[in-house]
Symmetry: C2
Subunit: 387 residues, 2 copies
C-alpha cells in the first residue's frame, strides 16, 4: 500500500426534499451567489423555483448563468468568470449534473486568476485557490459533486482537458434521488457507465496490497450493477435510485484511490472521442473500456481474474486463468450492452477517419494511463479493438 | 434508505514516516499546543522525540499532559481543561490510541465551556464548540481518529459515558502502520475486535434498503478478518498492519452509518462491564457481542443470514435459515476466540455479582439499542448468555 492523503470535506446532504436546505447552506458563504445550470429541465421540473425560493428566504442575491451543455465549453466558463468578477460574487451554486458542476468549478478557479481560465487545463497555470461552490445534483454519474476535479472542452481545436485542486471540492452537495426520476433511460445508463468506469480506472493498478480499497471498490461496483436494471425498468424506484446516486459519489470521492495509483487511460482515450464527436461521455466509456481491457489484461492476469470472480461471480478456472479474465471482460461488455449502451464505435457512426489524429492528439503530452503506459500506437490499437 | 448527512472533514495522512509532518499540520491552528499522551511507550519507541522535534521546527510552544489510562478518566480531563485555559492553548495534539484521543476531545470541549466537562457526558450540557485537535495514531482500534465522539469514565460511581459533536472531529489524523508494530498481541486483538464491533453495531439495523452501506461494511469486515491472523503471527508485516489500521478508521468514520440507524446496544452493555471491571473494551465486546447476537437474531433472521453468507461464506440453507444465521454467530465467536479474545465472562473472572446492578445502571436513562430495544431484563439475559 502506498502512502496517501485522503481529505474529502464535502458535506453530503442526502435524501428526499433536501434541496430545501440549499439557502441555509449557501448563505454561510456570502450573500451574492451565481446560480449556474444547464437547460430548461430544472425549470420545467419545478426544481429551479424551489432552489430560488430557498435562496431568497435567506436574503441571497442571485445572479444567473444557464446554458451549460454536455461536454461544457470554456467559452461559457469565460462568461461566468467575467460575470462573477464584475459583481463580486461570493459563492457559486451548480444545479445539475457533472457538466454544470465542472463548469462551475472552472468559473470558481477562474475568479481567483488574472489570466485565461483555459491555462489551468493546458498546464500553463495551476489552480491554487477558488471561490467556494455548492451543488444540487440532478444526474448521478460524474461524481463531480464531491471531487476536486473538473473537465472542460475548448471548442477551438476540440480539446477536452482536466484539472483539479482541493479548493474545487464543493463545500456541500445535496443529493436527492427523486431528482433523478425523470432522467431518460439513455442518460441514466450513461451515468451508470461513467460511475463504473470511475471505479475501474482506480481498480486497475500496479499496487499489489490494497485489499480494503479493492473490496470497497468491488462492493460499490456490485451495488451499481445490482440496481442498474431496476432504475431503468422502474425509474421512480426510490431505493434503487438512492443506491445509484450514493454509489456515484463514492465512486469518485477519492476513497477508492487510497493506497494506490489508478490508471485513467480509458478516460483520456474517451476524451479524444468526445472532444471531436460530442457523444455522451458514458457512451464513449462503454465503448473504450472493454477495448482497453482486451488490450491490457495480460499485463496482470491475476487482477482481471479477481475482478471477474469478485464482481461478476465468475468461477476461477485455475488451469485457465486467461479464460476467467476474459469472461470478466465479456460480462462487463455484455452488461453495458444490456443497459442500452453502445459497445462499438460503429454503433455511434464513428469510423476510422480520425483514429490517427485522435491517437496522436491524445498522446501529445506523453503516454496515457498508469497500469500500462499507452503510446500513440497503443491508443491506435485500442481504437481498432473498439471499431 | 433514510435521509442522512455525511460530513467527515478529517484529513487522513497515511503511511510510513508520516509523523514527520505533524509540526506543519499543527502550526496551522496556532503556536501553543497541548501534547496529550498515555504512558511511556511513545517515549521508549522514539515517537515522542520525533513528534516534539517536528513541532519545535515549526516554532510551536508545547505544553504536556501525559498519563492517560485505558478507559480514560474525567479527573485527568479536568486537569487538561485547567491547563489549557490557564495557558491559552490553541490546539490539542493527541499521540496514542482511542483513550488518549477521547481524553483530548473531552479537554477540547471543556475548554469552550464554563461548567464541569462531565456535564457533556450526563446530558446536562451539549457540546457546541471545541478547541481544534489533531492525532498521531498508535493503536488501530477505536476509530476515534476521525470520529466526532468521545467516551470517558467517571471514577466516582464507575460511569462510562459517551458524547459527541462535529467540532470534535480531529482536523487531521496521522496513521503510520509502523507505529502499531510493537503492540502486544492482546492489544492488537482487542483493537481488531473493537473495529469489527463498530461495523456490526451499524450493520444490525431495521433499515431494509441500504445495499451500498451493507456491502461497504461487509468489505471492511472481510478485510479485517482476513488480516487479523497475519498481524498476530507477523507483527511487522507492513501491508497487513496497513489494512487493519485503515479499516479501523473506515469502521468508525460514519461512512458505514449512511442511510440507516445503527444499534449500539452491545457497546452500551459493554460500557457497564468495563465501567466496573476495567477490562479492555475490545475484550468486553468479544464477550458481549456474540451473546447479544444470540439474544436478538430472531428479530430479523434474514439480516443474520446475509451476514453469515457474505462475511463468513456460510452457504444459505433455504430450508433452515435459522441454522445459517446461527452458524454466522458461531463463526464470529470462534473468530474472536481464535485471535485470543475471551468470549465468556468467566474467562475474565467476572461472575454474577454485579449483573443486576449493571443491568439496572445501564438502562437507567432508557432502553439500550435500536435494532431491538433492550430493557433492564433483556440486558440481564444478555449477561446470562455471556456467563
Amino acid at each position: 500500500m502506498q502512502n496517501f492523503v485522503f481529505h474529502n470535506s464535502t458535506k453530503i446532504i442526502f435524501g428526499k426534499d433536501q434541496e430545501q436546505v440549499v439557502g441555509q447552506e449557501s448563505v454561510a458563504y456570502g450573500k451574492k451567489l451565481l446560480l449556474h445550470y444547464g437547460g430548461g429541465s430544472i425549470k420545467s421540473s419545478g426544481l429551479y423555483d424551489r432552489v430560488v425560493s430557498s435562496l431568497k428566504e435567506q436574503g441571497v442575491e442571485i445572479f444567473e448563468l444557464g446554458g451549460v451543455k454536455p461536454n461544457p465549453r470554456v467559452s461559457l466558463v469565460r462568461d461566468g468568470v467575467a460575470l462573477c468578477k464584475e459583481n463580486d460574487i461570493d459563492f457559486i451554486l451548480a444545479v445539475g449534473g457533472g457538466s454544470v458542476i465542472d463548469s462551475a468549478k472552472a468559473i470558481a478557479a477562474g475568479c481567483k486568476y488574472d489570466g485565461d481560465v483555459w491555462d489551468f487545463y493546458t498546464g500553463k497555470a495551476a489552480v491554487t485557490d477558488s471561490l467556494p461552490l455548492g451543488v444540487v445534483l440532478t444526474i448521478p454519474a460524474a461524481g463531480s459533486e464531491s471531487s476536486a476535479g473538473t473537465v472542460i472542452t475548448n471548442e477551438e481545436g476540440s480539446y477536452k482537458r482536466a484539472t483539479g485542486h482541493i479548493s474545487l471540492r464543493p463545500r456541500f452537495a445535496i443529493l436527492n434521488p427523486v431528482l433523478s426520476y425523470t432522467l431518460p433511460s439513455y442518460q441514466t445508463a450513461c451515468g451508470v457507465t461513467d460511475m463504473i468506469s470511475h471505479i475501474l480506472e482506480r481498480y486497475f493498478t500496479n499496487e499489489k496490497n490494497v485489499e480494503l480499497t479493492d473490496r470497497l471498490s468491488e462492493a460499490t461496483l456490485r451495488t451499481i450493477i445490482n440496481n442498474a436494471h431496476t432504475v431503468l425498468e422502474d425509474p421512480t424506484n426510490y431505493d434503487a435510485r438512492a443506491e445509484i446516486m450514493w454509489a456515484g459519489t463514492i465512486a469518485h470521492n477519492d476513497l477508492l484511490d487510497t493506497g494506490r495509483i489508478g490508471d485513467w487511460g480509458s478516460h483520456d482515450v474517451e476524451h479524444e472521442i468526445s472532444g471531436i464527436y460530442d457523444i455522451a461521455h458514458g457512451a464513449g466509456l462503454a465503448i473504450v473500456f472493454p477495448a482497453w481491457m482486451k488490450y491490457v489484461y495480460k499485463h496482470d492476469i491475476n487482477r482481471f481474474v479477481q475482478f471477474a470472480n469478485r464482481v461478476w461471480d465468475v468461477e476461477i478456472d485455475l488451469n485457465n486463468l486467461e479464460k476467467t479474465a476474459l469472461e470478466g471482460i465479456k460480462r462487463t461488455e455484455q452488461f453495458f450492452s444490456s443497459i442500452g449502451m453502445p459497445i462499438r464505435l460503429e454503433e455511434v457512426n464513428i469510423n476510422e477517419e480520425h483514429f490517427d489524429e485522435m491517437a496522436k492528439k491524445g498522446t501529445e503530452r506523453g503516454p496515457l494511463g498508469n497500469f500500462v503506459k499507452l503510446q500513440e500506437k497503443d491508443v491506435r490499437q485500442i481504437f481498432n479493438l473498439a471499431k
